[in-house]
C-alpha cells in the first residue's frame, strides 16, 4: 500500500474504494465478535463460505464485529434491506442464500416477540429504541479492512481536525459537552485543555481499554468491530493536546480486540495515517499497544500508568493528576475507548449535533451492556437521559419467564443497585449518582425476584476484596471485613450491630480510599442496604432469604419457601427410596390438611426448585398427592392420638376454613379444649364452599376433617358471629382466647352501569350456592368476568351444571398475567370454555330489569406498573356488544365484616381487613387473634394454614403468660436421608428424564360431572420423579457432614465385612 501524502490523496483513495463497491451485490453480514464466536458464528461462517461457492459475484459475505444482540447470536443481517436473522445454525445457510438470491424473507429465522415477527432490524424492539451512532458501523464493516472504514467516511474527521488549530478542536469538544465514558464522567474537553496547557516537550495520550467489570463489554466490542474509529479519535486528540505518542492499554483476555486493533494500526501506519508527517500536515503521531494482565485495578489511571511503566499496577495518591505528571513523569491524557470513538463522531457530525442529544449535563449517546435476568440481552447504544424503564422493558423486553424485575445494577462492582420503583430515572451521570450508583463503563445487570440482594452485595464485595491492590488500608482490610460480615449475614449468623458496622465501614471505605476502586467499593453494599434493608433484616432477624439463594440459610428452597415449613426435600428423598409410609409421616408432621393441600396448593416450593435452573422443577405437589393418596388407600395416619387436656382454658375458633382448622388442630394437640364455630351448615370454609368438587372431592376433604376432629376439636355449625353470638359473649362463657378466621366471602362489585340488573351474579355467591348443592338461576349464554381461580372455578362449575350453552371468560390482560393456576386455565379451555383476553366490561345492557347483553372494550398492554405487570389500556373505538343471559362477576373478594359493628372495638386496616400484629397475629383486643384471608385479603390456602399455625403458637404463649414472640431458625431438614447410589444406566436415564405429567380425565369424561379431574401419579411415575430431585438439601455444612459420616460408616462396615 502506498502512503497517502495529502488530504486530497486520501479523498481520492476513498472515492476509489466507494466506486469499487458493486451496489447490486447483496451483503450477508455475520456477527462474529468474541461473543458471537462463542455461540458458534465461526462454524456459521465456514458453512456460508461453502454454500456461497458459485454465487460470489452476487453476494458478499462480510465478517463483522458484534451486532450487539447477544440473545440472538449468532445472527446475520442481509443488506441493503436490513433483514435480521437470529440464532442460526450452520445448516440454515443454504436456505438463507436462496432467500437472498430470490429476494425472499425466510420467516423461520426472524425475531419473534408476543406472536409478532420482525423482518427488518430497525423494527425489532431491541434495535428500534436505540440510537446507534458509535456502534452503528459495527454491523456492516469488516473490522480487518481499512477500505471498509474509508468507505463509511472513515478518517475524514482527521482531515478537518488537522486543518484546524488545537484550540479550535478543544473548544469543539468542550462545546459538545462530551464527558468521559469510562465512568467518572469528567468533561473531556477540560481534561484535554489541562494536558495541553502543561509546559512539556513530551506529552502522551492513552486509550484505556482495561475493561474488567463483570458484565461489561462495550470497549471490547468497539475495538473488535471498529478499531479504526478509536485510532482516528486518538489521532485527533493527540493533535489537539500536542502529544506525539499514544498507548492503547488493553487486557490480554481480549485476543480478538488485540488482533484487530494491532492490524488496524499497521494498516493506518502503512497508509501514512500514523507515523511521521501525517497527510503532509507536519504532525507526527504513532500508537503503541500494551497488553495488561487483567488486574481490575489497572483500569484506574495511575495504576494503568504504573503498569505501562513496567511497575506493579498499583495506584498512587492524586494530586498530581496525570495531566500534570503522568506516564514517565510527563503530562498524560487518558480517555476510555468509547470516549475516543465519540471524538471521531463529534468532529465528523459537528459538536452541535452531539450536544443536541441527551440531557442538560450529559450529552450524546452511551453504550450499555444489558445482561442478567432480562429477555433481550446485549449491547445497546441509547441517548443519554433515556429512562431505565425504556432500557429494561422496551429494549430489554422485560423479565425472563414473566418473573418480576427487582433491581438493576449499573456500573458493575463499583456501582449500585437501583430498585424497580426508581426505573423512571433518566440515565445520566447526575441522576445515577444521586440514586447511589454510577454510570461506570455502562454495565447493566438486571435482577429479578430470584436474585438475593445480600448475595449480590456479597458477590461484588468478594470480587473487590480479591481485586483490591491492597495498598491502602480501608480498601484492603475494609472490603475483607465487609465480605466477612456479609458472609455471616448470608449464613444466618448476622446481627443488627453487624449491619450498622457494615454501613459505617462502607462510608469510611468510600471517603478515605486512595483510588476510584476503593472509593466505589462500598457502593454495592451501601446501595443494597439503602434500597433493600428489608432483605438484610429478613436474613438477620427472620433467617429468611426470599429469593432462596443463600445456601446456609435456605438448605433446600422447597422447604425454605413453604409457608408451613413442610420438609419437601425429605419426603421426596423418601419417595425416591420407596419409603412411602415415612414420607407420609414427614408430610403430616407439619400439615393437618395434607390431602387437601396436595390438591389445591399453589406450590410456591416449585417456583424456586433448583431443578428448574436447568430443566423443569420437580412436581412437588403431585408427589405429595401421591403419598397422601397412598396413605388413604392403605389406611395410614387417619387419626392422631388425642392428648390429655390441660387446664389453661377453652378456646373459640371462628370460621372453619383452613386457618381455623389448622389453629384448632395444633391447639388441641397442645391439650387445649377447642371449639370451632361455623356460619355455614358444612365445615371447611372456602375449601367446602369455594373450591369446586372436581378439584377437591368432598370425600378427600372429609378425611382431613376427620383427622383434625380426632385431635379432639369440637364443631358447632350454623352459628354466625355478630348474629348468633359475639366475642364478648364468648369471653363471658369462659373462653379464654378467640381466633377469628372468617375469610373473604364477599365478591367485589364491578362498578359499571347496569350492574343491578337481574342475571348479574357474583362468583363467590354462585360457587357457595352450587357447592352446597342448591339451585342458581343460570341462563344459556354465560359470561364470567375475572382471571383468578374463583373466576375459572365459577365458569367450570357452571359448565358442569349443564344449564348453559356457552361459557365465556372475559379478562382484561393476557394469559401471561392471569393469576389463576395455569393448569386450571388450560383444563377449562379443553373443556370448551372460551376465554376472551384483553377485554374489559364497560356497561351492562338490560331489558325490563333483566340483563340482555354486556358492552365490552378491547384493551392493549401498556407500561409496567408497580406490581411488574403491564397495565391494560383501553383501545378507543373498539367497543363491542356481547349478548348474555347471565354475567358472573368474579374479579376479587373482600371480607364480610358486617359483624364488626357489634365487635366495634376491633381495629381494621384501610383495606377493610382486620388489623393484627403481623408477627403474633394478635388483634388490638387482648385475647383475640385473627388470621387467614380476613387479615391478608384473598390469599392462598397454604398461607391460611400458615396463619393458623402461627396463631396456635401465639395463643399458646398468651395463655401460658409467656412473651408472644416468634422464633426464627435457619432452615434444615429434621433428618437427612441417604442419597441413592445410582448405576451408570440409571444416571443416564435421569439425565434425560422429564418432569412427570399428571394424569387427567379426558375433557369428555369430566365436563358434565363433578368427578375429580386430576387422577394423580402412578407409583412408578412418582418414584422416577422423586429421583430427579437434585438433593440440594445436602449442600449445606450439615448436609456435607452427614454425607461424610455416611461414607465413614460404609467404610467401617466394609472393612469389618472384609
Amino acid at each position: 500500500m502506498n502512503k497517502v501524502q495529502s488530504f486530497d490523496e486520501l479523498t481520492g483513495l476513498r472515492n476509489k474504494v466507494i466506486k469499487n463497491i458493486d451496489p447490486n451485490k447483496k451483503v450477508i453480514s455475520i456477527s462474529a465478535g468474541t461473543c458471537g464466536q462463542a455461540r458458534g458464528s465461526n462454524k456459521l461462517i465456514e458453512a456460508f463460505q461453502k454454500a456461497l461457492v458459485g454465487n460470489e459475484n452476487k453476494i458478499t459475505l462480510k465478517i463483522t464485529g458484534c451486532h450487539g444482540f447477544c440473545a440472538a447470536e449468532p445472527n446475520v443481517i442481509i443488506y441493503p434491506q436490513g433483514i435480521f436473522y437470529q440464532n442460526l445454525k450452520p445448516g440454515d445457510t443454504a436456505k438463507i442464500i436462496d432467500g437472498v438470491l430470490q429476494n425472499k424473507i425466510i420467516e423461520d429465522f426472524l425475531f419473534r416477540s408476543n406472536g409478532d415477527k420482525f423482518p427488518e432490524m430497525k423494527d425489532i424492539p431491541f434495535y428500534k429504541h436505540q440510537m446507534l451512532t458509535v456502534l452503528l458501523a459495527n454491523s456492516f464493516i469488516d473490522p480487518t479492512s481499512i477500505d471498509d472504514y474509508l468507505s463509511v467516511s472513515g478518517y475524514s474527521s482527521i482531515e478537518s481536525a488537522l486543518k484546524a488549530t488545537t484550540v479550535e478542536i478543544i473548544e469543539k469538544i468542550k462545546r459538545s459537552g462530551l464527558r468521559g465514558r469510562g465512568g467518572a464522567g469528567f468533561p473531556t474537553g477540560k481534561k484535554w485543555e489541562n494536558t495541553r496547557n502543561q509546559k512539556s516537550e513530551i506529552k502522551y495520550i492513552i486509550c484505556n481499554a482495561d475493561e474488567g467489570d463483570p458484565g461489561a463489554y462495550m470497549d471490547r466490542s468497539l475495538l473488535e468491530g471498529n478499531p479504526h474509529s478509536v485510532i482516528e479519535g486518538m489521532i485527533i486528540g493527540a493533535y489537539a493536546i500536542g502529544a506525539n505518542e499514544g498507548w492503547i492499554y488493553v487486557r490480554n483476555e481480549y485476543p480478538l480486540a488485540v488482533k484487530n486493533v494491532t492490524n488496524a494500526m499497521n494498516q493506518a501506519r502503512s497508509l501514512g495515517l500514523l507515523g511521521k508527517n501525517i497527510l503532509g500536515s507536519g504532525f507526527d503521531f504513532d500508537i503503541r499497544i500494551v497488553k495488561g494482565a487483567g488486574a481490575f485495578v489497572c483500569g484506574e489511571e495511575t495504576a494503568l500508568i504504573h503498569s505501562i511503566e513496567s511497575m506493579r499496577g498499583v495506584p498512587r495518591q492524586r494530586p498530581p493528576f496525570p495531566s500534570e505528571k503522568g506516564l514517565f513523569g510527563k503530562p498524560t491524557n487518558i480517555n476510555n475507548v468509547e470516549t475516543w470513538a465519540n471524538v471521531t463522531k463529534i468532529i465528523e457530525k459537528g459538536e452541535d449535533w452531539f450536544s443536541s442529544v441527551g440531557t442538560k449535563t450529559s450529552k450524546g449517546t452511551k453504550i450499555f451492556s444489558i445482561v442478567g435476568k432480562v429477555k433481550n440481552t446485549g449491547l445497546i447504544e441509547v441517548p443519554m437521559g433515556i429512562t431505565l424503564r425504556n432500557v429494561i422493558y422496551d429494549i430489554g423486553g422485560g423479565g425472563l419467564d414473566g418473573k418480576k424485575i427487582k433491581a438493576v445494577q449499573t456500573g458493575g462492582p463499583s456501582g449500585g443497585c437501583i430498585p424497580s420503583n426508581l426505573f423512571n430515572l433518566p440515565v445520566d451521570y447526575e441522576s445515577l449518582s444521586e440514586a447511589g450508583s454510577i454510570m461506570g463503563s455502562g454495565g447493566m445487570i438486571v435482577m429479578d425476584e430470584d436474585t438475593c440482594m445480600v448475595d449480590v452485595a456479597k458477590y461484588f464485595t468478594n470480587f473487590l476484596q480479591d481485586e483490591s491492590c491492597g495498598k491502602c488500608v480501608p480498601c484492603r482490610e475494609g472490603t475483607q471485613r465487609m465480605y466477612e460480615i456479609l458472609k455471616d449475614i448470608t449464613e444466618g449468623k448476622g446481627t443488627q450491630e453487624q449491619l450498622e458496622t457494615l454501613v459505617q465501614l462502607g462510608n469510611v471505605i468510600k471517603s478515605t480510599s486512595m483510588c476510584g476502586l476503593g472509593q466505589t467499593a462500598a457502593n454495592p453494599v451501601l446501595g443494597t442496604i439503602r434500597y433493600f434493608r428489608d432483605e438484610y433484616n429478613d436474613h438477620i432477624n427472620k433467617k429468611k432469604c426470599s429469593a432462596a439463594v443463600c445456601k446456609e440459610i435456605v438448605s433446600s428452597p422447597c422447604q425454605h419457601t413453604c409457608p408451613i415449613d413442610t420438609e419437601a426435600s425429605t419426603y421426596i428423598a423418601l419417595i425416591a427410596h420407596g419409603r412411602f409410609d415415612e414420607a407420609l409421616e414427614v408430610i403430616k408432621k407439619d400439615n393437618p390438611l395434607a390431602s387437601v393441600l396436595a390438591r389445591v396448593c399453589n406450590h410456591p416450593c416449585e417456583s424456586k426448585c433448583r431443578a428448574s435452573e436447568t430443566d423443569e422443577p420437580i412436581t412437588i405437589r403431585n408427589l405429595k398427592r401421591f403419598v397422601t393418596d397412598y396413605g388413604l388407600k392403605n389406611n395410614l395416619k387417619r387419626k392422631v392420638e388425642p392428648v390429655p387436656k390441660n387446664k389453661l382454658g377453652k378456646i373459640a375458633i371462628i370460621g372453619s376454613g383452613p386457618a381455623g382448622l389448622t389453629c384448632s388442630f395444633y391447639l388441641a394437640q397442645n391439650g387445649y379444649e377447642v371449639t370451632v364455630f361455623e356460619k355455614q351448615p358444612v365445615i371447611g370454609g372456602m375449601l367446602a364452599v369455594g373450591v369446586p368438587e372436581f378439584r377437591l372431592p368432598r370425600e378427600i376433604l372429609k378425611t382431613d376433617l376427620e383427622y383434625i376432629k380426632s385431635a379432639g376439636v369440637g364443631f358447632i355449625t350454623n352459628k354466625s358471629l355478630g348474629k348468633d353470638f359475639t366475642t364478648d359473649g364468648l369471653f363471658k362463657q369462659g373462653y379464654k382466647a378467640i381466633f377469628i378466621a372468617t375469610g373473604t366471602h364477599k365478591s367485589l362489585k364491578l362498578n359499571v352501569p347496569g350492574e343491578e340488573a337481574e342475571g348479574v351474579l357474583y362468583g363467590m355467591d354462585v360457587l357457595t350456592i352450587m357447592n352446597l348443592g342448591k339451585e342458581v338461576k343460570i341462563g344459556k349464554r354465560v359470561g364470567v368476568i375475572g382471571g383468578g381461580n374463583s373466576a375459572i372455578d365459577a365458569a367450570r362449575t357452571i359448565l358442569r351444571s349443564g344449564k348453559s350453552d356457552s361459557v365465556t371468560i372475559f379478562y382484561r390482560r393476557t394469559i401471561a398475567e392471569m393469576p389463576a393456576f395455569e393448569e386450571e386455565v388450560i383444563a377449562s379451555l379443553e373443556e370448551g370454555i372460551k376465554i376472551e383476553y384483553l377485554t374489559a366490561p364497560k356497561k351492562i345492557i338490560s331489558e325490563n330489569g333483566k340483563i340482555k347483553a354486556c358492552e365490552f372494550i378491547r384493551m392493549k398492554l401498556g407500561d409496567m406498573d408497580e406490581s411488574g405487570r403491564r397495565t391494560p389500556i383501553e383501545i378507543k373505538g373498539s367497543e363491542f356488544i356481547e349478548n348474555l343471559d347471565t354475567l358472573v362477576i368474579s374479579i376479587s373478594e373482600q371480607p364480610d365484616i358486617s359483624y364488626i359493628s357489634s365487635e366495634s372495638n376491633l381495629a381494621l386496616t384501610k383495606k377493610g381487613t382486620l388489623d393484627v400484629d403481623s408477627e403474633t397475629l394478635a388483634t388490638n383486643v387482648p385475647g383475640i387473634f385473627a388470621g387467614g384471608d380476613i387479615v391478608s385479603g384473598p390469599n392462598t390456602v397454604v398461607d391460611a394454614v400458615a396463619a393458623g399455625k402461627i396463631a396456635a403458637d401465639s395463643i399458646d404463649k398468651y395463655l401460658r403468660g409467656e412473651e408472644m414472640k416468634r422464633e426464627y431458625k435457619i432452615t434444615r431438614p429434621s433428618r437427612y436421608i441417604t442419597p441413592i447410589e445410582f448405576s451408570d444406566k440409571e444416571l443416564e436415564e435421569l439425565l434425560t428424564a422429564k418432569r412427570a405429567v399428571m394424569n387427567y380425565l379426558t375433557p369428555e369424561e369430566r365436563k358434565h360431572n363433578l368427578k375429580e379431574v386430576e387422577l394423580g401419579l402412578t407409583e412408578e411415575q412418582a418414584v422416577k420423579e422423586a429421583r430427579r430431585c437434585l438433593r440440594c438439601d445436602l449442600e449445606t455444612e450439615n448436609g456435607r457432614a452427614f454425607i461424610n459420616e455416611t461414607k465413614q460408616k460404609t467404610l467401617v462396615t466394609e472393612t469389618q465385612n472384609a
Partner: protein, 230 residues
C-alpha cells in the same frame, strides 16, 4: 509561598510542603503510620487524613501526600475525621493486634473496641520496609507480592535474596516486628492502654479538637466547660 489555613491558623507554607509538613510545623498532631521523613510518600495507612474545602461539603485527603496550595483550608481533627481514623485503626488492630505501635495509637486516639475477628497477622503492609530497602539501602531485595486479600511482602519468588545484605533496615523500621505488644489477649485485642492519655471532651461541643491555643484539649478547659454546661 502559598497561604493556607490549618485549623484556623494562617500559615505561609513553602511550595514543596505537604499539609502534614505544615501541620507539624505548627505543632498540630496528626497520627501517621506509613509516613517516614526519610522515605518517599506512600499514602497507604490513611491515618493522616484531614478535611479540606468547604465545611458543608468537605473532601477527605491524606495530609502526607497533599501539596499545599494557595487558599487551602484544612481541618485536622473534626469529629468525622477522628471517628473515621478510629475505624481505620480498628481495621489495622484487628489485622495485627500484637503491634505496640498500633496499640499505642489506639490508646492515644481513644479506640476502645474492635468489632472484627482478630487475624493475628504479623504485617500491616505499610510498605515502610520495602521503601527502606529500596530508597535508603539501595537494595530492593523485598517487595509486594500479589494483591488484595493475598497481598504479602516477600523476596522475589520466595527465594533467599542474593541482593539482601542483612542490614536489618526493614526490621528497624517495622511498626510490628520490633515493637511487640505483649499485653494483648485473644478475648480483648485492645491491650492495657499504657499510653493512655486524657480524652478531651471538647469535640462533643465544637465538632473539633482544636482550641484557641492550637492544642487538642490538653488544657482541660473544654472538659471544665462541659461540666458547667451539664
Amino acid at each position: 509561598m502559598p497561604d493556607i489555613k490549618i485549623d484556623g491558623i494562617l500559615i505561609d507554607a513553602p511550595r514543596d510542603w505537604t499539609i502534614l509538613d505544615a501541620a507539624r510545623f505548627l505543632g498540630l498532631e496528626i497520627p501517621t503510620l506509613c509516613h517516614h521523613d526519610g522515605l518517599s510518600e506512600w499514602g497507604g495507612c490513611r491515618l493522616c487524613i484531614v478535611e479540606i474545602g468547604d465545611k458543608l461539603n468537605p473532601i477527605i485527603v491524606t495530609s502526607c501526600t497533599y501539596p499545599v496550595q494557595e487558599g487551602l483550608v484544612v481541618r485536622t481533627a473534626t469529629k468525622k475525621i477522628i471517628e473515621t481514623r478510629k475505624v481505620i485503626l480498628e481495621l489495622l488492630i484487628a489485622q495485627c493486634p500484637t503491634s505496640k505501635t498500633l496499640q499505642d495509637l489506639a490508646a492515644k486516639m481513644g479506640l476502645t473496641r474492635v468489632r472484627f475477628k482478630p487475624k493475628w497477622e504479623d504485617c500491616i503492609y505499610c510498605g515502610l520496609c520495602v521503601r527502606m530497602c529500596e530508597e535508603q539501602m539501595m537494595a530492593s531485595a523485598i517487595g509486594f507480592v500479589d494483591r488484595g486479600n493475598k497481598l504479602r511482602i516477600n523476596t522475589p519468588f520466595n527465594k533467599t535474596s542474593e541482593i539482601c545484605r542483612r542490614c536489618g533496615g526493614c526490621i528497624y523500621i517495622c511498626p510490628v516486628c520490633m515493637a511487640r505488644c505483649e499485653g494483648v489477649k485473644p478475648e480483648d485485642v485492645i491491650c492495657g492502654r499504657c499510653q493512655n492519655s486524657l480524652q478531651p471532651t471538647c469535640i462533643e461541643f465544637y465538632d473539633n479538637y482544636t482550641c484557641w491555643e492550637g492544642l487538642k484539649g490538653d488544657c482541660g478547659t473544654c472538659v471544665k466547660e462541659k461540666t458547667e454546661i451539664k
